[in-house]
Symmetry: C2
Subunit: 394 residues, 2 copies
């Protein structure tokens, strides 16, 4: 049974990170080697606290460094990945950062197992086929309705059947202003395009303010209304969902455990559950969320705002669910996020994308392209070096 030979964490970043909501400006990559093969994963978000949780000295019996639950373990089947994940979660229960860090480890373990078995991850998850998904292009609202219209028209011309507008000034000004942007987006997109709206948690726990935008969302025929409220406001989401039979709610990117995602489906009235494998603890809990969504009649969608390594990891959990066909597709990656992968998951002739039919995550990592973006990190505690950026190997 192959023993994990090495587990390495790499922090890569643009030389200058801008103060904009673009999650592709840095990344934490995880490389795990065993049995002569290598697997890669990526963890959201903020690389340094995750590296710290990997090597943090023990605080007590439920605050072990994550590394101590992973190094020296063996991998032979999906059950081993579940076992390692459960061990990490139990032994690092009280470190808040744990699940973000675990995400990259779990992804790398699945990729590694796929390389060892020469099987795609989605097949090991029990799916027979990786169904093509309809990607939506995410963009910020324009500064004016006219600009929003032009942006919508541009992605429609580029062949996207679906687009998402979000953040910007949405929810911060008058209801009329938001309505103007929504109608402009519908206008630019054409009558057939799928329009999605992301409010970026702007209304906190204020159901009334969130509800004031419902008539405009309905008029613009928005398919979903994403994260109008704070991620923890489950009961408030439920109250809002009762006000909006015609406008469906979406959320879930903040879920960092399967059970959180489950509560969102059970208690918050969501119609779409958006899971980021790089945050929820990896592919293992994301697959549990996809199974539960299917059983409950909630539609599963990936959340991805970084590299195509993360895109593949986030597609795997629902690759075989044909009816769950939308897919968040990062379109304007920063150079560092592009540099991570030789493989890009391009749209096919129908404009769709799918999890690759290739071993593991099916993504070749471009170590040479990545090297210039590698950030040197050194962490010393009580005179001992606990982390030094490792050599970046294939």
């Amino acid at each position: 049974m192959p023993k994990l030979d090495s587990v390495d964490l790499f922090y890569v970043s643009m030389p200058v990170v801008e103060d904009i909501s673009d999650g592709s400006q840095d990344a934490l990559l995880v490389r795990i080697a065993a049995g002569g093969k290598v697997g890669w994963g990526e963890a959201e978000a903020s690389p340094l606290p995750s590296i710290a949780s990997w090597i943090a000295p023990m605080s007590h019996g439920f605050c072990h460094p994550i590394a101590s639950s992973v190094l020296g373990e063996t991998i032979d089947s999906p059950a081993d990945i579940a076992r390692i994940g459960a061990r990490v979660k139990r032994r690092s229960l009280d470190i808040l950062q744990t699940d973000h860090t675990l995400s990259g480890i779990d992804e790398a373990l699945w990729d590694l197992l796929g390389q060892l078995r020469e099987e795609p991850v989605w097949r090991m998850l029990g799916y027979r086929k990786s169904w093509p998904k309809t990607p939506y292009a995410s963009q910020l609202f324009g500064d004016t309705p006219e600009e929003t219209r032009a942006k919508a028209a541009r992605v429609a011309a580029d062949g996207y059947l679906a687009t998402k507008f979000g953040w910007g000034a949405f929810g911060l000004g008058a209801v009329k202003q938001d309505a103007d942007h929504l109608m402009a987006a519908r206008d630019g997109l054409g009558p057939e395009g799928i329009l999605l709206v992301d409010a970026g948690c702007v209304f906190d726990d204020d159901v009334e303010r969130a509800a004031k935008r419902l008539p405009a969302l309905k008029a613009a025929r928005a398919t979903w209304y994403e994260e109008p409220l704070d991620r923890d406001a489950l009961g408030e989401y439920k109250a809002l969902s009762k006000r909006t039979p015609k406008v469906k709610l979406a959320g879930g990117e903040g879920a960092y455990t399967f059970l959180m995602a489950k509560q969102m489906m059970d208690l918050a009235g969501l119609s779409f559950i958006q899971i980021d494998a790089g945050r929820i603890g990896g592919i293992t809990p994301a697959k549990a969320a996809a199974d539960y969504a299917k059983a409950r009649g909630v539609t599963f969608v990936n959340h991805t705002f970084t590299s195509h390594l993360q895109l593949s990891a986030s597609l795997q959990p629902y690759a075989g669910l044909r009816e769950h066909e939308l897919c968040e597709y990062p379109v304007e990656l920063k150079p560092v996020a592009k540099a991570i992968t030789k493989t890009m998951l391009a749209r096919d002739k129908n404009g769709q994308v799918a999890a690759p039919d290739a071993p593991g995550l099916g993504i070749d990592i471009d170590v040479d392209a990545l090297r210039p973006y590698l950030i040197d990190v050194s962490i010393k505690v009580a005179g001992r070096s606990l982390y030094e950026t490792p050599m970046l190997r294939r």
Copy 2:
């Protein structure tokens, strides 16, 4: 209006940390100075990831280093503390570790404001009096029922009116074995003592296994059944609460935002909400949780397993709620946790403890006693030193 002159984070630890569930073996202390005064706070848990979140280079617009939202701010009233906290939360929304780190900062800001105004924190929170609370002594179940009986008898003899047993083998073996321990605890405690039981999340999301212990809990007249299930399993807690009209559920230590605590009260059927000011984001969200608990008829209790600095911080949010009278009281602190404070919140002649009637948190920090436990940390990123353990000053 006083500007924050300095914000320093200190990692202190026992030289050897044991693999036991004792949270007093290390601490992250926060010292903030302004207007010639100093305030102190403490953040749970795992100091290194929290230090990393304080100085982590920006990943994107919602992943700023926490320091960038605090340094240079001004403090003149409670509204400034709320403003700084909201700024941290918004600008570091996507760093999972944020709320744990913020806890220590918020506590230090309240202590500082109290020093500047010469007022106890509980008075600034709107309370007229700090009511004495009945402390309960927390301990692990014994290895045998006989040992559990002896432990219960010992704390009763030591004058405690309430005791909590938890963890150990509870829930891992036969129902009969748990029942024997519970009856032994009741026996040792005597008929009048308040018996609390902490299952340490041992049943995950399995309502049936958790429910099998209800008859024994009822027979032993346990006042609460704490954390039988995973912290995220809100719907499962609700289902369990319906099975147990005679045994009330307690939980909440895992809540790291006010809205999480609110959902636990709204959706999980808890009768007791246990809030750790060092985890939920500080005294500000803990007070919001106390207000909500009072309005909803849920009983608020502090969760504290570290120093008396943290004990004072966790007492403040419900100091004025006379009917919410239980209090978790750390009895067997490790030397490092004792060294933090000159002031210890001792039990009065009635065996009760109260938040001090003194400026701020009313706790003197013992800088000289603490110095031997200070851990040297050095974090360098891309050739720049981002954190070096600062000098420990009064």
